[in-house]
Symmetry: C2
Subunit: 329 residues, 2 copies
DNA sequence: GTGAAAGCGCTAACAT
DNA sequence: ATGTTAGCGCTTTCAC
């Protein structure tokens, strides 16, 4: 029932090779013939079967993306960028959600491998040894994870973290909590690194956690932070920050008058809908696009010298409301 | 470089047909042989090439999902359900974002068609005539869209809307605004329908919009609603509601003391992080799973009699905080 | 119960 | 510039 290349060839009165060439190497067929073939194909509603094509070329025109958890709004924003860029580059994308489970993640890469030219691993939860096992299965590009010299898009936290610290310091905060995210998370290490790098003699940092990077992790984290007597909280991400704020409200601690809260990630909605939450905006969508660029480049280029394999994106503090209230200290 | 069925056959000392059978029709090969083959395959790390298989069977083991906008947090939650159920049924999923653009949507369906066994169209933005054009391209299952007798998962709004209306009435509200979403949206029609169906003699409904179902649409909507002198606002969805609340805060109108706000969709974060927002929770994840069930059923069953083609999910009002403040009226 | 061979839709040599 | 042929990795008759 589907229209094949044979059908088009027969209808157009040429050989299949000519039809094939009209699509893949247009320059090799006479202008007039090509027009005719293309027109016939259009009329018949022919669309090349990429799977069949891939069988012989070894290229599928697809790639995969694996994210830890779709219900974490951070990932859809990255995906949005991936999607947009993928279509521009004429790639179709397989999506999978590994549910924060490294074993699942491996299985998914392997399941996808044969149907894709490469896979983008978003905030991979795999251990280094697990990672080694999948490397080589297919072309890999990482987002927010550094694996030896593999291509990666890294969303740095140094700039945003420094801004956050300076901001809080300027408001008079002297004792601040940092709520750790997942310990296997590169982003968490990166944020801690930024934190240490921005250390100030006049500010004490209390590290808490790790906590699940979700709303549900917030309440407990808030209780611990309050018990520590801090006047400001820097949460691993917005979701956690939101959970924290919810608990603070329940306990009658007002933000930002009594407690300043800072979150990471760019979930514009979070900060906009909850103005006292100050956030460090990440360039999620751009990261998604960059990852596709890297992958396409990797697959296109001769291979040996693949140009820059690493893309670093920075981030920026966004103060939406009156976090500008000095700590009572 | 990849391990093929040939490699396994050679290594196991059997023919390719036997290997193939060991995987697809295990009963047809002797127990002992099968064990040996499967073991060898495992050892070599062989994974059948689904594309090649699909070429001959006509089934790819993949399906596609198209959503209007990944940055609308409603869709990722549905996707989460789709993903979970897809993996259980051993399907891989193609994802595409049509950017609220019907023309894109058509193109995406056609582009996917050859690589999938079916497509799930989530809140399709296509016009009826556009829809007719893609029907027949591949098996289609709709979410929140009714197209003749095509399989669909419908998230009804009647129950939730009635609860919302009764709730607001009980609080003493007599003049309530409904902020319309996209006019091509089935969900919007469904919600309006629920609204009319729940009409009360003691309550006046002011319809406004349509507005984009996004945070950005809220501020303007809020201004119009205030100008209309309503004491409560029912927004098409949570995103819009959040935008409304943001504007209300800017204008010094406190929620819920001076204005009650109700949103739709299940973006748990929205209501949890912003307690004065009352929401009607939809069963997004379940809808995603149901859609996959429908599709799998459609592809598996003999075809003629495909069982139930429609799944209706209901919704429920969630009052998280003190919306329980009577209108001053 | 197992093997040999044909062929799915397509592209890439190799002719012409 | 175009046609012919041989497969890509797999399933599926058809023999044995």
């Amino acid at each position: 029932m589907p229209v094949t290349i044979q059908d088009v060839a027969r209808e157009a009165g040429v050989s299949v090779s000519t039809v094939s060439r009209a699509f893949t190497v247009p320059d090799l067929v006479k202008d007039e013939t090509r027009q005719h073939v293309l027109h016939t194909a259009e009329r018949l509603g022919y669309r090349p079967n990429r799977a069949a094509r891939g069988l012989i070329t070894g290229k599928t025109g697809n790639f995969g993306v694996i994210v830890p958890d779709l219900s974490n709004p951070f990932f859809p924003t990255v995906l949005k960028g991936v999607q947009a860029r993928a279509r521009e580059a004429d790639y179709a994308v397989f999506l999978a959600d590994c549910d924060e489970n490294a074993t699942e993640e491996i299985a998914l890469v392997q399941a996808m491998a044969k149907q894709v030219d490469g896979v983008i691993l978003c905030s991979s939860r795999m251990s280094p040894s697990q990672l080694e096992r999948v490397v080589g299965t297919t072309s890999l590009v990482f987002i927010n994870r550094q694996v030896r010299d593999h291509p990666a898009v890294l969303m740095g936290a140094a700039g945003g973290m420094r801004q956050a610290i300076d901001h809080l310091a300027a408001l008079g905060h002297r004792r601040v909590a940092f709520l750790n995210g997942p310990k296997a998370s590169w982003s968490n290490r990166e944020r801690r690194r930024g934190l240490r790098h921005s250390a100030r003699y006049d500010m004490e940092i209390v590290e808490l956690g790790p906590f699940a990077p979700r709303f549900e992790g917030g309440p407990h984290a808030a209780d611990l932070a309050i018990a520590e007597g801090v006047t400001a909280i820097i949460a691993f991400n917005d979701l956690l920050a939101l959970g924290v704020m919810s608990r603070l409200a329940d306990r009658g601690v007002s933000v930002p008058e009594e407690m300043s809260v800072v979150g990471f990630d760019d979930i514009p909605m979070a900060g906009m809908a909850t103005p006292p939450l100050t956030t460090v905006a990440m360039q999620n969508e751009r990261a998604g696009r960059a990852a596709v660029d890297l992958l396409v480049n990797l697959l296109t280029v001769s291979g040996a010298e693949a140009g820059d394999l690493r893309r670093e994106l920075d981030c920026q503090l966004i103060v939406r409301a009156s976090t500008g209230v000095p700590a009572r200290s």
